[in-house]
Amino acid sequence: MGVIPQLSAFEAALAASLPAGDLRSVLESGGLPHRRVEAWKWSDLRGALARAPSGAGALTVDVSRKADQIARLDHQPDLLMPRLAAGLSDGCPVYDLQDGETLSVGFEAGEGASHHIAAVNVPAGVNAILRERYHAAPGGFANIALRIVLGEGASLTRIVEQDASPDGVLVVTTGIDLAARANMHQTTLGFGAKLARLETHVSHAGEGAQLSLGGSYLVASGLHLDQTGIVQHTGPNGATHELFKGAAAKGGRGVFQGKIHVEQAAQKTDAQMNHRGLLLADGAEIHAKPELEIYADDVVCAHGNALGAVDDEALFYMRQRGLTEPRARALLTRSFLAEPLEAIEDETVRDALLARLDAALEAVS
């Protein structure tokens, strides 16, 4: 409070690599986000990068097809991380999705720090799938920004897989614009990193747009996953449904920050946000901050949040039926975490994610 933070060598080098200007001075005056920054209170990025990633990073972006164009693109002006990504990238590949298309993108961050920005357009009436996969190698730090724009009546299923990345640091910030009657269905499956943050901002401006945000996470020892989602309802008759479920094993840390902001013009908004977390063992941590900020009166908004352990009664019941305790626990945890994934419409994608979840559960237990 009031004290100007000392920049780390990494932050100073990062600032020096930027041209003089607003972005550079923002970084110079405040450094990277840290615990004292409200939006990052449980995810200390500065702390995670205290041991600086050495040198320029090697980010491998593996895309299923070529970009339609390379543009210059800025991100949300008030968010430091995507601004940095835009400022430090050479250009922004733009993908215009075709009806029925599935675009797959894999991000593999090698050692060092890397920044990347990309954009995806879903033109009016188009129905498409976007699949992303993220992994950071030990000592790697990737800061990735994405812009997704849905035209009128467009429909996008977005699947994000974040692989367990011990000793890697990953920040993915996505800005999504929904036009009238657009339909966005986003599901994430994350396993954490030394610090991983999947941050999604949705501008719900079009009348009658539908948004479904959800996902599952499972964080093992030493891993941290932060799922932050900010939804801005500015148009009327919009709907948002969020269901996030996660589990933390001993030494794992889950963070959920959700915010639904309803402007006065966004009358008849229907917004529901739900987060549920399982603490699997002593030493696990889950922090949650489900926020509502409502300025319109004719709305129905609700959020629920529950944290706890596997239900003892259910365990008892299953053991009575002859299951061993670990087996019963695994089944209950599996059924708990599977719910958000089961809502994925595409059968192949759904099965693939469920299989990954099963494998991860096997490794944790």
Partner: protein, 501 residues
């Protein structure tokens, strides 16, 4: 509900007289020099004849405060406060005893009348000779409430003192307790809200003028409800009460606090600190009705209410329950909290907050679970009307050792009109798998169906709204002691004046 008819009359009265309690009594006051400096702190301490350690404590707080910056994280907006442009101490000059009510200055009596304090009680409060014995005799039959009135900064008088003494309960202004029980005060003061806890608590530590001190000895159930009426008077005087309540092992006490403040144009700063300490098996129930001047329809004037209230459930099986009805103040910044340190201790928070006009309220609670099998329950009802803004901000934190901890939180917001805002900002932190934390929140408007139903039964719109709002708040109203429940219902009605249509 017979109370409904009163709504319309109450509201009409308000039309003419806008704020019933908005009046200023003109009596001579003794001021500390305007502004805040070490000298102000010394002046206050000297006025009260405090021991050296107390002065040192205050000075330490002041020096720390100077280094601190005002917090800006709350969802409230106001012009910057000029801390040098206020008086930090005002005492009624004439606090001596009167021979009869005739001798009491008429303005003072009028104040009590408008506050709705019965004449007999006023007699005692004002220190009229013989009044205490008469009142005590009457009180034997009636339900009893002991009143420690804070008339501006100095507690003018205390009723039922003898009755309480008999039970061994100490209930007196904290300034008096500092003289009579310095060790007890020294042991507990600042042990729940440390000097440097936050900007406003530190300010309070430096300049607190007076407040209540309660000590309930082991095993004693306090024989009556204790209550304090805080009143701000004197133009431009900030109020800095300091309340300290200690329930020793197995003790029980219920404390009521109700506030009204005069109408005025300048913003008034109010930064109180309330500390509760519950030892083994002790129980404290703390109820508040707050209806300070909220400012006019354009938000001009009104009280800035920046309060730090915290309870320390220090002993095993202890329990603290906060109940609040917040309808007043231009700006409220208040989070009555419980530190659940003792095993099996319990914390409760029941709140109704109503904002109308241009009011802003950022209020909630913190439940810090440290001990095993600790339980907490939060029920918060927020009603926003007019052009007001309201935020529920709460923290439930379960530490690694708090096995078997349990929390249930429910925050419901009601929006009346499309110019207001309702926000929910809960923080939930869990560090043990052996705890269960549940949180629910909803935001909605008054149901059209219910309104239609009530109106089709012949109720006019305003009455129907009052009825539904009372229903919405029922779970909290039920928690209030009888004396307050009635006042609270009346307040809800008056507070929503002009919000319909």
């Amino acid at each position: 509900m017979p109370a409904v008819k009163e709504t319309i009359e109450d509201v009409r009265r308000l039309e003419a007289d806008k704020y019933k309690y908005g009046f200023t009594t003109e009596i001579e006051q003794e001021f500390a020099p305007k502004g805040l400096s070490e000298d102000t702190v010394r002046f206050i301490s000297e006025k009260k004849g405090e021991p050296q350690w107390m002065l040192d404590w205050r000075l330490d707080a002041y020096r720390r405060w100077v280094e601190m910056t005002e917090p800006t994280w709350a969802n409230v907006h106001h012009p910057k406060i000029d801390y040098q442009d206020a008086y930090y101490y005002a005492a009624p000059k004439n606090a001596s005893k009167y021979k009869s009510l005739d001798e009491v200055p008429a303005e003072l009596l009028e104040t009590y009348k408008k506050l709705g304090i019965p004449l007999r009680e006023a007699e005692v409060l004002l220190g009229v000779e013989g009044a205490e014995d008469r009142t005590a005799a009457e009180a034997r039959e009636a339900p009893r409430v002991a009143v420690d009135a804070v008339f501006d900064s100095v507690s003018v008088a205390t009723t039922f003192k003898k009755e309480l003494e008999k039970a061994g309960v100490i209930f007196m202004p904290i300034s008096e307790a500092l003289q009579q029980y310095p060790d007890l005060v020294r042991q507990y003061l600042g042990s729940v809200v440390p000097v440097t806890d936050n900007y406003f608590a530190t300010l309070n530590s430096a300049v607190f003028s007076d407040g209540s001190f309660v000590y309930v000895p082991p095993g004693v159930r306090c024989p009556m409800e204790l209550s304090t009426y805080f009143r701000m008077n004197a133009q431009g005087t900030g109020q800095f009460e300091r309340t300290l309540i200690i329930a020793d092992k197995g003790a029980y006490v219920s404390y009521l606090e109700g506030c009204t403040a005069p109408m005025r144009d300048e913003n008034q700063l109010h930064a109180a600190v309330v500390e509760l300490v519950a030892l083994d098996d002790a129980q404290i129930k703390y109820s508040t009705v707050q209806n300070w001047w909220p400012g006019d329809a354009e938000g001009k004037g009104g009280v800035y209410n920046f309060v730090t209230k915290r309870a320390d459930c220090r002993g095993k099986n202890s329990k603290v329950s906060w109940t609040q009805v917040e309808t007043g103040s231009a700006i409220t910044w208040k989070y009555p909290s419980c530190v659940l340190r003792g095993d099996n201790s319990q914390g409760e928070f029941y709140s109704i907050a109503v904002t109308n006009g241009r009011q802003q309220a950022d209020t909630g609670t913190k439940m810090i679970h440290l001990g095993r099998n600790t339980k907490s329950r939060i029920i918060a009802k927020g009603i926003s009307a007019g052009r007001s803004d309201q935020t529920y901000r709460g923290l439930v934190s379960v530490h690694a050792k708090a096995e078997g901890a349990r929390n249930f939180t429910q925050c419901d917001s009601l929006l009346i009109g499309d110019q207001c805002g309702a926000h929910t900002v809960p923080y939930i932190e869990a560090k043990t798998p052996k705890a269960i934390l549940e949180h629910e929140a909803t935001t909605s408007k008054l149901s059209d169906d219910q309104l239609f139903y009530a109106r089709s039964r012949g109720l006019d719109e305003e009455t129907a709204v009052a009825l539904l709002v009372n229903g919405f708040c029922r779970e909290v109203l039920q928690e209030l002691p009888m004396e307050f429940a009635v006042e609270a219902q009346a307040l809800l009605k008056v507070s929503l004046e002009g919000s319909v249509g």
